[in-house]
Symmetry: C2
Subunit: 362 residues, 2 copies
């Protein structure tokens, strides 16, 4: 899709995105199968019932409220596939269905680098992040981060004069931590604030993996500055690698627990970042973002899976993600039918479709 949606189409798009159990993968599959959000919404109750449970569509009233809240904030709704949607996010498989942006949305299509790291960061780590953001800014890069305490805040500070983007886990107006209220205001004016969620929503823990996927997805490279073992920044780094983005990490002393995560990234192949020149070198020769060829339902006729196939697929699932291709092999059924069964199960809340073609029980 490369045309802007009409207002009614945008309402349907948003309503489909806000309907329960519709994550980015399911959204993408539904659009590929039914062509429009309106057609997908019409089919949803039936699909979910086949999956085993009734589904509640997002209400028209909730959509009215979201659009009004966003307008009151001066925020813009961007839908995946529209020309104004950031190219970097459009290149994700699947892209987030919608984002809200406040401030200078044009920054999202400039060359971007994410700088993320520990919330409880050392003074030295924060100084490094601020300097790195400033140097990369002077070299023409927009700095993306998550507005968190510590490294994130320092990266935004360093990037403010040249351009910075804060991606929030809650709504586009969900300022957290409270001491970053001033920083938030400056970013909303001189930079850009992005959220996948509806305005007014306060972030909860499970919002952050999706927030992190937007941070890495917006960026050509992700630099991790100070991160403890098993911290959120490492998830962002892993997502970046899966998205084909460059991953860099700042090394540190083994005696500093905040270097455990970054040193471990370097062990796993992340490039060493000692300054802006390392990032610029990593970006050399990288081309623009391209929309992926999506597998989806493939070329064959989709049809509807029967109950036996759907339950056979459900029985194969566990909390450990497996690939859809494995399920096709295990069932011996045509891929389009297995994919259709998975969408039905996901709408019924019986499985979760993950980016990268993986599936697990919800």
């Amino acid at each position: 899709m490369t045309e802007a949606l009409s207002e009614p189409e945008r309402r349907d798009w948003l309503r489909l995105a806000r309907t329960e159990n519709v994550g980015p993968v399911t959204f993408d599959q539904l659009i590929q199968r039914f062509g429009t959000a309106r057609a997908a919404l019409a089919a949803l109750p039936d699909l979910a019932r086949r999956g085993g449970r009734a589904i509640k569509l997002a209400t028209e009233a909730a959509i009215d409220k979201e659009l009004a809240d966003g307008a009151a904030l001066g925020a813009r709704l961007l839908c995946a596939g529209e020309p104004a949607f950031p190219q970097a996010l459009a290149a994700l498989d699947p892209p987030p269905p919608v984002i809200w942006v406040r401030g200078r949305a044009e920054l999202l299509d400039r060359p971007t680098v994410a700088i993320v790291g520990a919330r409880v960061a050392s003074a030295a780590g924060q100084r490094f992040a601020r300097g790195l953001a400033s140097d990369l800014g002077q070299a023409g890069h927009v700095i993306v981060s998550g507005l968190a305490r510590g490294i994130d805040g320092a990266a935004h500070e360093g990037g403010l004069p040249s351009g910075t983007v804060a991606v929030l886990g809650g709504g586009v107006d969900d300022i957290y931590p409270p001491e970053h209220a001033g920083l938030y205001q400056r970013i909303a004016e001189a930079g850009c604030v992005v959220s996948e969620n509806e305005p007014g929503r306060a972030a909860v823990a499970r919002d952050f993996p999706r927030r992190n996927r937007i941070i890495s997805g917006l960026s050509r490279a992700v630099v991790v500055v100070e991160a403890e073992f098993r911290s959120g920044s490492l998830i962002t780094a892993r997502l970046a690698a899966e998205q084909g983005r460059e991953v860099l990490a700042v090394p540190g002393s083994p005696l500093d627990p905040r270097a455990k995560g970054t040193n471990d990234l370097i062990r796993q192949g992340a490039a060493i970042c000692e300054g802006a020149e390392d990032v610029l070198r990593a970006l050399e020769g990288l081309g623009g973002f391209r929309e992926p060829e999506r597998g989806g339902y493939g070329a064959g006729p989709a049809g509807d899976p029967d109950d036996a196939l759907r339950e056979a697929v459900a029985a194969l699932l566990s909390p450990t993600p497996v690939s859809r291709d494995e399920l096709v092999r295990a069932t011996g059924a045509p891929a389009p039918l297995v994919y259709a069964a998975l969408v039905e199960l996901s709408l019924a809340g019986r499985c979760e479709l993950l980016p990268g073609g993986m599936v697990a029980t919800a």
Copy 2:
């Protein structure tokens, strides 16, 4: 050679090693060509004259004095090729012709790890080195280092209870820095002190590259803890890599200049060392040391190079090292004749034969 030398043979061996312009490569080539040190000594004046300059053999009096000085210290002379010579050094191409050892020479044939680093080291770096040495010692490894200030001293301290080896640039009794006199005494009693040079000699700058080659050569792995850019520890690391030993480096913050060198080693492929387990993992599955097949003069008849060939070889040399094979190709002459010409030129002080088959003007 696997038999111990007789006393007269050891005198000759030492005398050849102490003769001017006879470095380890030339020594090795001479022994391969002439079979014994005595035969090589007899041929030397002629070879050097052909190279273009008279040579002064080490005097018998100097050898008497060296052997007496060593005996007075209770030190032992070990000659390359003797059964008592450390296997790790025998595996070098070429090995150092002789070493003096004080203390427990049997430590040299135990599994060894070198820990080296900055002289002006941080307290944290020294603490890390001490702890690493102690942990590796408890895992059965002897700790090798250079008795220098900073990291070296800390590594020896940590390794003393389980066994540590100090390799000196000067003679085996050349205590430097002076504040390490107490540490030296403890190593000479409970550990082992090693030197390639004659007792009584004070180290000068050009002794250290050869000292570093012994440190890495004695060790299965070299760990660099804190090193500035272009520092001596990086030379030790490079030598270790050339010798096929494992190289590890301790990462550090880009804001700490003492981490510049170690981070750079990691960029170049050194393994990250955050503790003893990283070193033990790097050593897993490594076999023992094996003496290399030496190229030397090859199988063909050696004969003597004529003046034209010798000068053609000399004209091809510069301060930038080239390989002997390149010189063979460039002259089109048989390899044994080119190698013989190089030995003559090196004895005359007109070139330097470097480990790894490289040659440069002296």
